[in-house]
Amino acid sequence: MAATKNGSPLLGKYELGRLLGRGTFAKVYHARSLAGGEHVAVKLGSLLAGQPERELAFHAPPALNAFDIISMSPGLDLSGLFGDSKRRREKRFMTTASPEQTVERLGQAGPKLGYFMVGKKGVDRLPLGGLSGLVAMSMEMSEVSPSMMLIELKLEGGDGDEEFGWEELRTELGDDMVMAWHGCDGKDVKDQGILL
């Protein structure tokens, strides 16, 4: 694991490794937590002009239990009775790609599709209108099995009226990354189930 540029740990907590990717506003590094030795991805962003760099770190994805997975069924989502605005702002997919690759590709697609990635807790520090027309998108990673992750994407803030180009995002991410795209409406006919 490479040492940081100036030798001291980042924010006193992480030893920075190689650069994984960069978006318009941030760079993502591979890093190691000094406390637990876990491998993490650390995103350093200058989100607002003049604001200091802030960490948006996330740890190795927590493992899902059977009920986490079962809860995802649209049959258990009664918000549909009320006109269903939630589902248009969330998407899930499964991937065998690594956390780093996933973060990188999501970051690269951002400028093209009009969003930028944020950590869940970073949202309240952002201006409500996003940044020059961009929408904030948060991501949560969970482990389905040792080689497969579930990625949950959610649009944060915004007024919910713009239709986000989920299908374009799916294309950008590529079929090699997206194993199963759970659009919550069961319409995804591409039968690309993966047998592990």
Binding site: A63, L64, N65, A66, F67, D68, I69, I70, S71, M72, S73, P74, G75, L76, D77, L78, S79, G80, L81, F82, G83, M94, V144, S145, M148, M179, A180, H182, D185, G186, D188, V189, K190, D191, Q192, G193, I194, L195, L196
Partner: protein
């Protein structure tokens, strides 16, 4: 419990006195009336009989009346307390009440336990969880090997099934969801607090003044 029904004067099929329902639930009278607007549109969508049947429920949930879904069926069955294959307005309001943000966790834990205890034995058995897991994976056109499925089940049961008898009882479920509160996310519908703004037509139909909201 104060819910009386006036059989002499029934203004609409499926209608139940909103004051009584408001007393029994976390909803105000105007909210119950707003729910009636919603109920009318759902219950009249296939057969206009003041009752929600399975097709109408599926239509409301999925915009597709033919879409069969294991989990939606479970929800329907739990709403249909009188086991008649249809949901009336009272059933509708009382069941939705459990999903209200102000309702105590205890009731949500109860409902979710009954939801997953598919054969109503009082226990959530491993085979039931397996069945539900496979159903979910089928919905998302994902296939996982039996080995992976078993691993997920092993992990779930080692977490939840503290007496290791191969099934999760009510107490184990309660402890399990206390440690994993996200599992009860599905049991709360924030929309229910805004129901009167979502269905504003109630304002013109209101027959009773709100005494207490």
């Amino acid at each position: 419990m104060g819910c009386f029904q006036s059989t002499a004067r029934r203004p609409r099929p499926g209608y139940e006195d909103p004051v009584g329902l408001a007393n029994e639930t976390a909803f105000s009278v105007s909210e119950v009336e707003a729910l009636f607007e919603l109920f009318k549109s759902i219950s009249g969508s296939v057969i206009d009989d003041g009752l929600i049947n399975k097709e109408e429920f599926q239509l409301a949930l999925f915009k597709n009346k033919r879409k069969e879904n294991l989990f939606a069926n479970r929800i329907f069955d739990l709403f249909d307390v009188k086991k008649r294959g249809v949901i009336d307005f009272g059933d509708f309001v009382r069941a939705l009440n459990v999903f209200h943000p102000n309702i105590p966790m205890e009731e949500k834990i109860d409902f979710s336990f009954k939801l997953y205890d598919m054969d109503s034995t009082g226990f959530i058995e491993r085979k039931e969880v397996k069945q539900m897991l496979i159903a979910l994976l089928g919905e998302s056109e994902m296939r996982l090997s039996d080995e992976i499925i078993e691993t997920i089940l092993d992990k779930t049961f080692s977490d939840a099934d503290t007496d290791q008898d191969g099934r999760i009882d009510r107490t184990e479920w309660e402890n399990f969801v206390s440690r994993n509160p996200s599992l009860l996310k599905i049991m709360t519908l924030p929309y229910l607090k805004d129901i009167t703004t979502t269905f504003p037509s109630f304002v013109f139909n209101s027959e009773v003044d709100d005494l207490v909201t």
